[in-house]
């Protein structure tokens, strides 16, 4: 019995299914991430971390509201 067509079908389907599931999982992760608690309105205190902001042309990057950030 020639198993090549069956093997190739299994490989194809598992690859398509993996890509499909990977995209769905990423969407689910982003959705869950959006539902996490956010900083209160008007409060400058971040809930988890300072926002990362890259400055064009600079060696370093700046962090908003961070007094220790490189000038």
């Amino acid at each position: 019995m020639d198993v090549v067509p069956y093997l190739s079908a299994v490989i194809l389907i598992s690859t398509i299914a993996t890509i499909f599931l990977a995209v769905l999982s990423y969407a689910a992760f982003k959705l869950r991430d959006k539902r996490r608690p956010k900083a209160k309105k008007g409060s400058s205190e971040p809930v988890y971390f300072h926002r990362y902001r890259n400055r064009p042309g600079a060696e370093g990057a700046k962090v908003e509201g961070d007094p220790e950030a490189p000038a």
Binding site: V4, P5, L7, S8, A9, I11, L12, I13, S14, T15, I16, A17, T18, I19, F20, L21, A22, V23, S25, Y26, A28, F29, R32, D33, R36, P46, V47, Y48, F49, H50, R51, Y52, R53, N54, E59, G60, A61, K62, V63, D66, E68, A69, P70
Partner: protein
């Protein structure tokens, strides 16, 4: 209906649905009426061929240099064992902090200090850690608290409070092998060595996902570090275990907190400053890996964006090799591993599936996968033997290629796009299970 049965039924329905959709897509591709232009096909074929060659070269290169590093290993006892300070930054690590300290007190080393830095935890981390504060013979435990400011600031506080010239930085949720300090400290007999990266191993091999990560840590991360260690150019000292020369840390200003991969950023700063960064497979940290897919994606999302931020921060060195060609090469290698490799993997898979489905090239498809799987199995076997790990991990290499690597690469690709478009991101924190 019991919860387990409900989840089982849901999982079966999902599997049937996904298989049905995949079959439908497969049929759609096979029966598609349009023809691809021959130019596109020939370019795609050459790209796939190039991808295959690159993949094999990458494997051979990594295996070869990690093997050379393995041969170079010197197991002799170091001539001196200087005091070491172990920094344990902890934020809401109440579930695991006592286990971490207990494992640290078992270390086989004559004199060391354990410094727990509570980063403004909202749980009982300080109380639980303080139980161990005081003198324990060879080891002294100190607990300091500070307002919450992130891991980088906590480690910087610890560095300023450390009393030893050598500092081990770890995570609050990790545990160390008893021989870790003895094995790592010998590298510092070379005055050019600024830091040593240890080997991270997954402790919770409880399901398919965490077992795949156990293999990934050995094959995908430790093997790469071993190869880089041959050139003394390790590019990421992992968060769970890094041993540093304090003067080197002070010279580069400690950890910065402007990226989400502060360990990668610090390693790059050390390399730029001219320090050598080595790898020690015998310095082992055991860590908890995410057991759920969404937690794993969250971790990889942060790693990917953090590494890209670190590359962006030091981008001047990409085109300026005056400070040492090694740093420039390392940065380009990081771009290859961080952006190019995942893109090629996803693109290669999609293209190959499309062409195979459309033009019915069954045999090349099977051969392609067979040779990739053989490569994966061979690499996994080598790494498992070298790292004296369980041989039971080797068969996971089959799932690694078919499922794990592709899923992670898709997430990496999305994260890369988000970083390129500078979308907002938060630190977040993985919930620990407390298996250590």
């Amino acid at each position: 209906m019991p919860a387990k049965l409900r989840y089982g039924v849901l999982a079966c329905l999902l599997l049937v649905g996904i298989t049905g959709l995949s079959l439908g897509l497969y049929e759609l591709l096979r029966d598609a009426r349009f023809e691809l232009p021959s130019t596109f096909l020939s370019v795609a074929t050459w790209m796939l061929f190039g991808f295959l060659v690159l993949l094999i070269l990458r494997y051979i290169g990594l295996l070869w240099f990690s093997y050379l590093n393995h041969l170079e290993r010197d197991d002799a006892e170091p001539t001196s064992l200087p005091p070491v300070t172990i920094l344990v930054p902890a934020y809401n690590e109440g579930a695991v902090i006592q286990g971490s300290i207990r494992s640290l007190l078992q270390l086989d080393y004559p004199r060391y200090e354990i410094l727990v830095i509570d980063d403004g935890s909202k749980d009982d981390t300080t109380v639980k850690a303080s139980v161990y504060a005081g003198d324990h013979g060879r080891a002294t435990v100190r607990v300091i608290t500070k307002p919450n400011g992130g891991k980088a600031r906590a480690l910087n506080t610890g560095i300023s409070q450390a009393t030893s010239e050598f500092i081990l930085c770890m995570d609050g949720d990790s545990a160390l092998h008893p021989q870790t300090l003895r094995r790592a400290i010998r590298h510092f007999q070379n005055p050019a060595t600024g830091a040593v990266a240890g080997s991270v191993k997954v402790v919770n091999r409880t399901n398919l996902l965490s077992s795949l990560q156990a293999l990934e840590y050995i094959e995908g991360l430790n093997m790469v570090r071993a190869a880089q260690g041959f050139f003394r150019l390790v590019n990421i000292i992992p968060g769970p275990i890094g041993i540093f020369r304090k003067s080197a840390l002070q010279k580069v200003g400690g950890y910065d907190h402007d990226t989400f991969a502060e360990d990668c950023d610090l390693t790059l700063k050390l390399l730029i400053e001219g320090w050598q960064v080595n790898y020690e497979p015998g310095a082992i940290a055991y860590t908890e890996a995410p057991e759920q897919m969404l937690d794993l994606l969250k971790q990889r999302y942060r790693w990917t964006r953090g590494i890209l931020q670190a590359i962006s921060k030091h981008k001047r060195r990409l085109v300026d090799p005056r400070g040492g060609f090694g740093v420039t090469f390392t940065l380009w290698y990081m771009i290859f591993e961080g952006i190019l490799w995942p893109s090629m993997n996803v693109f290669g898979n999609v293209l190959f599936v499309f062409i195979a489905a459309r033009y019915g090239t069954a045999l090349p498809l099977v051969l392609w996968w067979a040779q990739l799987t053989v490569l994966d199995l061979a690499a996994a076997l080598y790494c498992v033997v070298v790292e004296e790990e369980s041989l039971l991990l080797v068969p996971y290499a089959i799932f690694y290629r078919a499922f794990f690597a592709l899923t992670i690469d898709v997430a990496k690709l999305f994260a890369t796009f988000e970083e390129l478009f500078k979308l907002r991101m938060d630190w977040g924190k993985l919930e620990r299970i407390g298996r250590i």
